[in-house]
Symmetry: C2
Subunit: 392 residues, 2 copies
């Protein structure tokens, strides 16, 4: 089940010819209402792709009727022509939706693109704009349509990622995501669309989305490279007419985001190990995130895990680069349950560490009670190969 | 010529048995005066190795008589025992120097170690302490002794790195360095000892060293991993009795540091390309360094260069992650002389870029007149191999 699981959403996915593979590459999610509330978070990269520049602007009012997404080209650093392609996409989609009876302005259409940076020329524009009519015509509320929409945003993903949750009062949340957590070439764009029929206003949507992304997608830090196209959208149709417990709703949005995030993590291209780095005993949650993130960005540590070497020295050294609160002589490191480092010195025999696909690293700072986990992948030959050979 | 090039310095290097290879691993530089002024800079990693903790403390008074250096073990995260090994090294060396007629306190002895983190047990201690007597006995002012000292600090270096410069009034500066700029395993410890007979006080030494390291070693940023043992020491014997032009001296110390830095860069283990990233048109030198450093830390960019792919999109995206002053639509990127990106969009054909060992990337921010270069290496299969297989 995907974005069509909640009431009030139709979707579609088809092949527009953007990808040489001939697989689906154009996707649509329509909110048929009664509400058209939306919240969205975008990449914090200052050099943003054209669809991000557009969507950020038009979603600022908290309303959107549909999202058009494509794979096969990021429309990033493609200049004025690329931006015009995005606006033309929105204009055309709005006109088509209006013709089908849903009065829609271009400013109600969000646009997302993923693929190679620099791709966004005339062929790209034509493939998208010419296929919007069949795309709108194909949209329906079926399970299959939701699946097709999820498939059409895949790039190097090996499977479509979807998740759903139900609230106790009967509302539903559905989501789809694409992105190889780390290792996808082309900066690993992450696109996520989450739909709900819960009757909540834009303020609740926005708070729930920010809370959820902060604790899920923002903590999947696989190669420290920040995409130009990252977009996470949460839309409410308000079509389910029951009272919504805001706390429950917020918790379930977070669950959907964590579910999708873990699916992205384990599908990370080139990864041989899925690493969870938990910092505990931190003086603040920020400190815990900072320390875990710092270790997740160490090429030396990530290469060691690829070699199944429980190299705790590289962990402690990385902790030392942060400004978190800790005593440099009191750091513990536990890898897959073996306390290889206690009080910043050798402790249990590293030979006892058993490696498997999932690697759990726990760092105890002994400086407080806060905890946070950041997820990452190892640095492998496949990573180098994928990312050196992609566009050449 | 190395650290024995200036008047007033003796040196030695011998095999103490720390390295399985049986090559030289224990090194000594003695300042025979009349001055014993010293300046030093140390890793900013908060989790420092024991020799750094010791040397930082005892060099704070601006005086030192000798430096004992070893390869074959970093004596890092080895707890109280490791710290005692360092103090015992200093005590023994001070006693031996006093016996040879140079009155020396343990606090006049700096200690540097390089090798694997966690290595610093009883065997390590014995090998160093037991070999200090023959090391002191072997020290002399010859060219050969200076070379032996430089060889004894090598780890994965393929050649010993040395440099000398002469001032117009006849003073001399000599230096030795070890470290694979980036790709050495074990966090790429960089150790540098620079000697001079110029009659300058500690204030001049300190200012010259900080200026030089800031513009040389600090800008060799090859995998973003900060060592626990990095140490750069500048000692003056004051044995050359001529007036010293402070500006000239400062400039020559910088030249020696740049010379050694470039030797480290081209010897970086696992690197296939030596990359110089110059940011120009910056609003400040800090902005220029920030932007160049940010690009030097992008795994995606570094993997692209390994694949000889002039992937300017990864450069612009990385620039976008910084807080430097720029207009995101006005960035130019020139790779090996080809302007592949103008105004943040495609310009010259990337096919025109010719690749060789040396890769020059120029980023123009069009935001001012400042410029800075950061040097890095590409991300290669050899890097992954070296750093995944080292300690296991």
């Amino acid at each position: 089940m995907s974005v069509t699981a909640p009431l009030g959403f139709a979707a579609a996915g088809l092949t527009a010819g953007l990808k040489p593979s001939g697989t689906k590459d154009l996707s649509l999610v329509i909110n048929t209402g009664p509400s058209d509330a939306v919240a969205a978070v975008y990449t914090s990269n200052r050099c943003k792709a054209n669809p991000v520049l557009w969507s950020q602007k038009v979603s600022a009012d908290g309303h959107a009727r549909a999202v058009v997404l494509n794979s096969g080209g990021a429309n990033c650093y493609t200049g004025d022509f690329g931006y015009e392609t995005t606006t033309l996409t929105a204009q055309t989609a709005a006109q088509l939706l209006t013709e089908t009876g849903t009065d829609t302005k271009p400013e109600d259409i969000l646009v997302c693109s993923t693929g190679l940076i620099g791709v966004g020329g005339q062929d790209f524009r034509d493939a998208i704009v010419d296929n919007l009519a069949p795309l709108v015509a194909a949209a329906d509320t079926s399970v299959e349509a939701g699946q097709a929409a999820a498939e059409a945003i895949m790039t190097t993903d090996t499977v479509a990622k979807t998740a759903t949750r139900e609230g106790s009062s009967g509302f539903t949340i559905g989501g789809m995501a694409k992105g190889a957590g780390m290792l996808a070439p082309g900066l690993a764009t992450m696109l996520v669309v989450i739909t709900t029929d819960a009757n909540v206003d834009q303020t609740v949507l926005d708070a729930a989305l920010r809370n959820a992304t902060n604790q899920s997608f923002d903590r999947l830090d696989t190669d420290g490279c920040m995409s130009t196209n990252d977009t996470v959208i949460l839309m409410s149709s308000g079509a389910h007419d029951a009272t919504v417990d805001t706390d429950e709703f917020t918790g379930l949005v977070k669950e959907v985001c964590l579910d999708l995030m873990h699916q992205l993590h384990v599908d990370a291209e080139g990864a041989h190990h899925d690493i969870a780095i938990t910092t505990q005993g931190a003086a603040s949650e920020d400190d815990a995130v900072t320390v875990s993130r710092s270790v997740s960005r160490s090429a030396l540590f990530k290469a060691a895990i690829f070699g199944e070497d429980p190299n705790w020295g590289r962990v402690v050294a990385q902790v030392g680069t942060t400004s978190a609160e800790f005593d440099p002589t009191q750091i513990d490191v536990i890898i897959n349950g073996v306390e290889v480092c206690r009080a910043s010195g050798p402790y249990e025999d590293p030979e006892k560490v058993e490696f498997r696909r999932q690697v759990d690293v726990v760092i105890d700072l002994h400086a407080g009670t806060d905890t946070a986990t950041v997820w990452t992948s190892d640095l492998t030959h496949d990573y180098v190969e994928e990312n050196s050979a992609y566009s050449s």
